[in-house]
């Protein structure tokens, strides 16, 4: 054992590094106010300070850091989307994720597993082929594979032709990965705070002050602050905050549930998704199976779990892995998701000139954390929306230019 380590063992105070600075009073004026201290908001704050030198920035949250959907997703990262706009966007995100542990000096436990989207019908095979071709065209590694190749990648999967819905093929996406979601928010928060960004938890926005079509300030339960620009990144509460700012969104809020099993020995390397059976599963480094399915059947602002969800999810999962029937569920939870009509997010400008939005992330927001933060920071710093984000503008609905991503986002997450 190194002698240096003994020193800490004998010392009265362990010199643990404080992750975030103690909370300070709110200042009356900030250059930029970011509402929502989830992964997206914190990433935007980090890139504002790092890339654009803007440090008079505060991040507000009515709860705590990463207490919303950032800590409630199933932590899957992939870029095998359907629309060219989507693939380009998520490909940049995957590239940023790969370097993130180094960049933030915080281990995000990024683990590339490969991502299998199983096809049980001819229609699903066709979509898989379509996605593979779009992906390859844009330099993203994806391939339509047959049952023999699936068996090689995931020998434990039930590939019997006697199954109720036999597997016909799969879209295989080797860069598909999982990561530790909390670590990403904490890493961004710590790095941003080190550069002078202020984090204010338990600070709820209660009103948006406007002058004409400009935002001049934000009212909170701790007082009013003025700002030159503001960003809302509050998945699950997007419509409520937008209503305070005075506009409506093409969003309905629906719970998305998930659960994990008791820890098992490592047996499942790839992430397995079945859109036809409405389920997906991956095994964490701790050995727990992370399992989820489609969103609930009706809009709700509640993070409750239901038995119905688990009954339907398990009946589908046991089709794929019959030997799991004795395994117990360890934890269950839900997040509330912003569902858009076209299954694509909403990023960029709003009807207010200096108020920007990052919303509509439905069930697929985690994987976009770095790229969204980086590009929203660029938007806030320059006042111009980068080309990568333009197709996702809120205005696309007014001009009927939706970005249909349902085939790749509905259950895949």
């Amino acid at each position: 054992m190194p002698i240096g380590l003994l020193k800490y063992g004998l010392a009265r105070r362990y010199p643990a590094r404080r992750q975030f600075p103690p909370e300070r009073p709110l200042k009356p004026v900030y250059d930029i106010v970011i509402i929502g201290a989830g992964g997206h908001g914190l990433a935007a704050a980090y890139y504002l300070a790092k890339q654009w030198g803007l440090r008079n920035v505060c991040v507000l949250d009515k709860g705590w850091i990463a207490g919303g959907n950032t800590g409630r997703n199933t932590a899957i990262v992939r870029a095998n989307y359907l629309t060219p706009e989507g693939v380009r966007f998520y490909a940049e995100s995957v590239a940023l994720f790969r370097e993130l542990s180094q960049e933030l000096d915080f281990n995000i436990l990024y683990s590339e597993r490969g991502h299998l989207t199983l096809a049980h019908t001819d229609a699903a095979l066709r979509t898989a082929r379509w996605r593979a071709e779009v992906n390859k065209h844009l330099g993203v590694s994806s391939e339509l594979i047959g049952v023999d190749e699936i068996r090689r990648l995931c020998p434990v999967l039930n590939l019997s032709e006697e199954a109720r819905y036999p597997v016909l093929g799969a879209l295989y996406h080797p860069p598909g990965a999982i990561a530790r979601h909390d670590a990403i928010a904490w890493g961004y928060a710590r790095a941003a705070a080190d550069m002078g960004v202020e984090l204010h938890q338990h600070t709820e926005v209660t009103g948006i002050r406007r002058q004409g079509d400009r935002v001049v300030g934000v009212e909170t339960n701790r007082g009013v602050i003025s700002c030159a620009r503001a960003l809302q990144a509050v998945a699950g509460s997007s419509s409520r905050l937008a209503a305070l700012a005075g506009f409506r969104l093409p969003i309905v809020t629906v719970p998305l549930q998930a659960c994990v099993s008791q820890p098992l020995q490592p047996f499942l390397d790839p992430i397995v998704v079945s859109a036809s059976l409405h389920c997906y599963v991956s095994q964490t480094p701790r050995g727990e199976l992370v399992m989820g399915g489609a969103v609930d059947g009706y809009p709700l602002y509640q993070q409750r779990s239901t038995l119905d969800f688990k009954e339907t999810l398990m009946s589908d999962l046991l089709e794929l892995f019959p030997f799991l029937s004795e395994v117990k569920v360890l934890r269950q939870w839900a997040g509330i998701a912003d569902m858009t009509p076209d299954f694509s997010p909403v990023m960029g400008e709003t009807p207010l000139a200096n108020y920007y939005i990052d919303a509509g992330w439905g069930t697929w927001g985690f994987k976009a954390t770095p790229v969204c933060g980086k590009r929203m920071a660029e938007t806030l710093a320059t006042g111009a929306v980068p080309d990568l984000l333009r197709p996702f503008a809120l205005q696309r609905f007014d001009s009927f230019r939706q970005l249909g991503e349902r085939g790749a986002a509905a259950v895949g997450h």
Partner: protein
């Protein structure tokens, strides 16, 4: 299993129902600008709290109105659409040969 009150069939399993979205005023499609049409088709109040929605009982094909609380997940009242809408919205041309 959650139970939902249907004005026609009484309390039934939630699985038998589909939510049809917020009740909104029916616009006059012939007079609407594209932006107003987009507001009607895509944008929602998406309120946290008391909402009034269309619901469908799938097995009986019966559409009705329900009032519920999206914060507490409670159904407060459900009733036939005729309580809200005195007359049917005409579909197609208003008069024969009016196309």
């Amino acid at each position: 299993m959650k139970l939902i009150p249907c004005p026609l069939n009484g309390l039934r399993n939630a699985e038998e129902f589909v939510c049809g979205g917020e009740v909104q005023p029916e616009p006059d499609a012939s007079q609407l600008s594209a932006a107003d049409w987009a507001q009607h088709v895509f944008h929602r109040d998406n309120r946290a709290g008391l909402v009034r929605e269309w619901w469908l009982h799938v097995p009986s094909g019966y559409w009705f109105i329900a009032e519920r609380d999206t914060l507490s997940d409670r159904f407060l009242r459900s009733y036939p659409a005729s309580e809200l809408f005195a007359k049917r919205t005409p579909v197609g041309p208003a008069e024969p040969g009016d196309r």
